[in-house]
Structures are given as C-alpha cells and as structure tokens.
C-alpha cells in the first residue's frame, strides 16, 4: 500500500497530471482498487464517480462499506449489471445505463454525475479491458479520449484508469498509455 500511496502522492503533486493509468496485478486487482480509493480520499479527493464495469453496484457498495469507506459522496455507474442484462434496482448512489452500452450515453452519465459532486473528485474506471470485451477498440479509445479531455478542463477532477498488468501490452492499451499523463505500475 505504501508504494502505491507514495507513487500517487508524487504524481499528484504535479497539478498538470490529470489522467493516471494504474497497471495492477490480476491476483490483487480489486483489493488494489479499494486501496486506491482509500488513498485518494485521504488526499482530499472526497468525491468519486465510480464506473463499475467489473462488478455490480450492490456488491461494490457492500464491500466498500465493509472496508469502512463512506459512499456518501460517491456515484456509481453500474455497467456490469447493464451488460449482463440484470434487473436494475434503484439506489440513490447508483446510475443505471442501458444494456447496449452506448459510449455516448455512458459519457453523458459520467459527465452528469461529475457535475453533481462538488469539490475535489476523481473518475474511476475499474477496468478498461473488461470494457473492451463489449465494445470495439475504436469505441474504447473514443471513450478514454473523451474522459481525458474532460478532466483536462476541470481543475478539481482526476481520472484513474485501471488495467491488468498482463493486458497492458495490448495494442489499444498502448494507445491509451500514450495519451495518459502518468502510468503507475502497482507492485503488491
């Protein structure tokens, strides 16, 4: 945790760094996701737009609560339930999207959610490669490019993109890496 924390501390000292890609070990992927949220909240990034592609909202919110992470200032966009065609239960912290996973609709949902959260915040994409299972590479790249542009114009917002280390050599991930401000290889 200290390594990830010190890396994030160093990176975030530079105010020009707006988009960060984290390369994570598959064995501790979700654990590292949670650590990242804890570290960023500790650094004053109280608001979170969590784009949950891997897990449904119900599972994430209960795990975060178990870890004593408050979700009061968090909004979740539940992509996992949408793409799996699961029933969409209503929760005030959860934004549902349609099962076809339209990039424009997702972008609008992220933008609207970010607008609702005041103060320092971050947009958290839990897995780019899981997203790419459902969309062509061109759409995945359009999605990340939009997010990078969005945070560039925002003083108080940082973008965190997560990817499994063993998948970071994929060509499209390399294309994202070129445009991200910083890459952190998380060692656990």
């Amino acid at each position: 945790m200290r390594k990830l924390e010190s890396s994030l501390n160093t990176v975030l000292k530079d105010k020009n760094v707006k988009s960060i890609m984290l390369e994570l070990n598959t064995e501790s992927y979700f654990e590292t996701n949670i650590k990242t949220i804890k570290i960023l909240q500790k650094k004053g990034f109280g608001g979170v737009v969590y784009v949950s592609i891997q897990r449904p909202f119900k599972n994430i919110s209960s795990t975060l609560k178990k870890q004593r992470i408050s979700i009061k200032n968090m909004l979740f966009i539940d992509v996992a339930s949408a793409v799996s065609n699961e029933a969409r239960e209503k929760y005030k912290e959860c934004v549902h999207i349609s099962p076809k996973l339209d990039v424009d609709e997702l972008i609008k949902a992220i933008y609207a959610s970010a607008e609702k959260i005041k103060g320092k915040k971050f947009i958290f994409i839990d897995s780019l490669t899981t997203f790419a299972l459902y969309k062509p590479i061109s759409e995945t790249l359009r999605f990340t490019e939009f997010l990078m542009q969005l945070v560039k114009g925002e003083k108080n917002t940082v973008l965190i993109l997560n990817v499994a280390k063993d998948l970071s050599q994929k060509k499209f991930i390399q294309n994202v890496i070129v445009h991200a401000d910083k890459i952190i290889e998380v060692k656990t």
Binding site: L24, E27, S81, N85, S127, T129, L133, K170
Partner: protein
C-alpha cells in the same frame, strides 16, 4: 497429492460470498475437484456444478466412492450427450447441449440460483475446456456475466483452471474478475 490442509484453509478464508479461481496441474485437477466438493458439502453449501469434462454419471460414481453426499448437488452436464434422452437418471442433473452453449448454461445457472434458497456455490470445472469450445472473448463475457449474477445474488464461486495451459491474456481477463487466485 495436494496439500489438503492448506487448500481448505485458503478456501475457508475467502469463499464465503467470494469468487475464487483455483489454478492447478492436470495431474491434480480431479483431486482438487473432489476435495473442493467434499469441503463445500461439509460446509453445508448447496452446490451447482458445471461439469465440462466428466459425464455426470462418472462424476456421481466418483462422489459416491468418496463418500460425498449428493443430495445437495446439482450437476449441469455439458458432455454426456444425453440432452435428448427422455429418461433422465436423477432429478439433480441438468443436461446442456454442449460446451459451446453458453447461453443455455447462463440460463440454467440463473434458474438454479433462483430456485435454491439455501447457501449456495457455483463450481465451474474447467475454464480450459470451455476455452477449447469457445472464442476467448465470448468466454470472458460469459464468465463476467455469470460472476455478475452470482455477486448480485450473494452466491459463492469456485472456478478451476489448469495453470500454464491458458493463454496469458484470457487468464488475466478472468483472474481480475475473481476475488482471489489460489494455486494448488
């Protein structure tokens, strides 16, 4: 021989409500399967077993030989080709057309989840066999969808794969979706 104490300790540490990927070798995979089913049975889980390599009849015989209570088991069998047999040998066996019928498997798993009210687990044996019969991208989407269903319904899960036999990328894609990876 597997280190049984270590294996069951790891299972008890992370299986409750979690999803575990168990990686093992070809020589140990049957032993891992039987010990896992035995342990889950002792923990009073109702088990939904997706068997992609061994026909259900053979599996039931193995369970009986190993004193495993088969009353709380449902086997989804993709490999015994008895889908069209009108005479089914037991109520707790669901025949699936074949290993490529991912939609049928998803539907049957969903039905089992709905029907069983008790503490339950889904056991997939094995990822490698499914990978022989399906495109990696389709299989990853299938696993993602099944795992989402399980998480929404608080179902524990065990996925078995052969270590070093799986493509690095598909392994990473699946492993990152699990709560824990255990090597036996």
């Amino acid at each position: 021989m597997i280190d049984l104490a270590k294996f069951t300790k790891e299972l008890s540490n992370c299986l409750e409500g979690g999803i575990v990927l168990v990686e093992t070798s070809a020589s140990k995979i049957l032993e891992v399967h039987l010990e896992a089913v035995k342990w889950l049975s002792k923990q009073k889980y109702t088990q939904i077993i997706l068997s992609t390599t061994r026909p259900c009849k053979n599996l039931l015989e193995l369970y009986q030989k190993n004193n495993i209570d088969t009353d709380k088991l449902i086997i989804l069998c993709t490999c015994c080709k008895e889908k069209n047999n009108t005479k089914q040998e037991k109520n707790n066996i669901i025949h699936i057309k074949n290993n490529s019928s991912l939609l049928e498997i998803t539907f049957s798993l969903g039905e089992c989840i709905k029907l069983i009210k008790a503490k339950k687990t889904i056991f997939i044996d094995s990822i490698n066999t499914l990978l022989i019969h399906n495109e990696p991208n389709s299989l990853a989407k299938f696993i993602h969808s099944v795992l989402t269903k399980m998480r929404l319904n608080n179902v524990s899960g065990l996925l078995i794969s052969l270590d070093l036999k799986m493509d690095k990328e598909i392994r990473a894609e699946i492993a990152q979706l699990c709560d824990r990876v255990i090597r036996v």
